[in-house]
Amino acid sequence: MDDEVREVVTPPSRTQKDTSLGYELYLNVRTLVFVLAALILVFTFVVRIIVVSGESMENTLQNGDSMLVWCLGYEPKQGDVVVVTQRSYQNDSLVKRVIATEGQRVDIDYETSTVYVDGVALEEPYIKEAMQIPIYGEGVNHVTVPEGCIFVMGDNRNDSADSRYPDIGVIDTRCVIGRAVMVLFPFQDFTLL
């Protein structure tokens, strides 16, 4: 019989080894950093959350609403609510509705408060109230949208700086950030657009 006493040294298990406070803290911080990086990438290339500033899209959007904007591979279509940037007017973005795309003819009749696209009157249940002639005059109200551009207007026609305003005019599609797909906050305004 072997009387030799052997000391058995059990190596610490992974669970024992990895439960130090520093290790746990590090894992949490690392997770947060990775999540932040992933979120920034998603919010750069795929979607964005943009807060509405102003009343130009009432009653569809209210001042302070947070919208989810889809950016990835978006091509503007008539009727979409889009977020655009027109640096000739301001550095921050604008939220408007696409009235016409490239090649379409836009005619605005202020007397009947009607917008014609390619000679067809648009049905616009979304506008807040009947259009009146803006303070800067009729502006751009008869135009054929050039290639690669869109014509946009706010739903609150009487309080909206949009493609009618000469400093803004038609918008290059490369200035389109994306399409507003839903209102996220406040929750009572939650809706698909």
């Binding site: 920034i40 919010f43 750069t44 490369r174």
Partner: protein, 314 residues
């Protein structure tokens, strides 16, 4: 038995070549791929396509280098409590210390610039609010936060260099490396906030990628002091930090951003300089002979099978 290859040289050469090529292509893109008063991108411009290809190539080349990086795992007993030293013990390596000092002082130099700019924007924001003319944009808060975090990053980077000369002490280094990672978080949020309304992705995506690469590199760097070490991934991230930082620098950003970019790419070069040496020649803490072994000269070492795992320093 394998012949040791000078991986440190591979890393530095490949990274700097890829960074120089990417920066040159970025300059070419800026000269040819945008049009009009507001620099809208020309669809399908050759330079833009080439830049994407170069960046993808950089990702692939550096990933291959990382996958092939030999990592020698010392006996567990020698590593316990000394994980940081196994990776960044650098006594006698004045290059590492010098690079970390340069990186730290670049971060420090950015502090007054970022803070002054942020404060000016904050004052302008207050005035605009009072006059009810605020149209959105940068109100300067994130700029000031980034400045404060850059100050913390200065201490962190300086301490990382110092820790390379002080053997022992369990868990050292991790906290200090996490400071520049936190600064990266603030910087990333500020950068994104300023660019969110810009429809031209090329205006800011190189900078975002550079900040993200640097931030992830630092957080992996912090992990080298605990069981979460990912040395190969850290090398890859350090390489990507250098490449993306050069691309972002080619766009001639403002002075504060330039200093932060220089800070992180110099720190990344320091990591690319030191880490491969220590991974191939695990330092015996307290014995400086091992550390000063020239990495360019072939040595015979044995690489055990378990080194295939990422978490080597267990």
């Amino acid at each position: 038995m394998n012949k040791q290859r000078p991986y440190k040289v591979y890393w530095l050469v490949w990274t700097l070549v890829l960074a120089a090529v990417a920066a040159a292509v970025r300059l070419w893109q800026e000269a040819t791929a945008f049009e009009g008063e507001y620099g809208l991108p020309i669809p399908g411009a050759t330079a833009s396509v080439v830049l994407v290809c170069v960046l993808v190539m950089a990702v692939a080349v550096l990933a291959m280098l990382a996958a092939r990086q030999p990592v020698v795992t010392p006996p567990r007993a020698k590593v316990r409590g000394r994980r940081w030293d196994m990776s960044f013990f650098a006594t006698g390596d004045s290059v590492f210390l010098a690079l970390m000092c340069i990186s730290a002082f670049c971060a420090l130099a950015s502090v007054p610039i970022l803070f002054t700019k942020g404060r000016a924007l904050w004052k302008a924001y207050q005035v605009a609010l009072a006059m009810k003319t605020w149209r959105g944009g940068d109100n300067g808060v994130l700029g000031m936060v980034t400045a404060v975090l850059a100050l913390l990053a200065f201490f962190g980077l300086l301490q990382i260099g110092r820790e390379g000369f002080r053997p022992g002490r369990r868990g050292k280094g991790g906290f200090w490396a996490a400071l520049p990672a936190c600064a990266g978080c603030g910087w990333l949020l500020g950068t994104y906030r300023n660019c969110a309304a810009d429809p031209v992705l090329w205006d800011y995506v190189p900078l975002l990628l550079a900040v993200i690469a640097g931030m992830l590199m630092y957080i992996d760097w912090a992990g080298m002091s605990c069981a979460a070490a990912r040395p190969r991934r850290m090398l890859w991230l350090a390489g990507m930090t250098v490449v993306c930082s050069w691309v972002a620098l080619a766009s001639r950003p403002d002075t504060g951003t330039t200093l932060l970019l220089v800070s992180q790419w110099v720190a990344a070069v320091a990591a690319l300089h030191r880490l491969p040496i220590n991974l191939q020649n695990p330092p015996t803490v307290g014995s400086e002979e091992k550390l000063s072994a020239p990495t360019g000269m072939p040595q015979e070492i044995e690489i055990p099978m378990e080194n295939k795992e990422e978490d080597t320093h267990v």
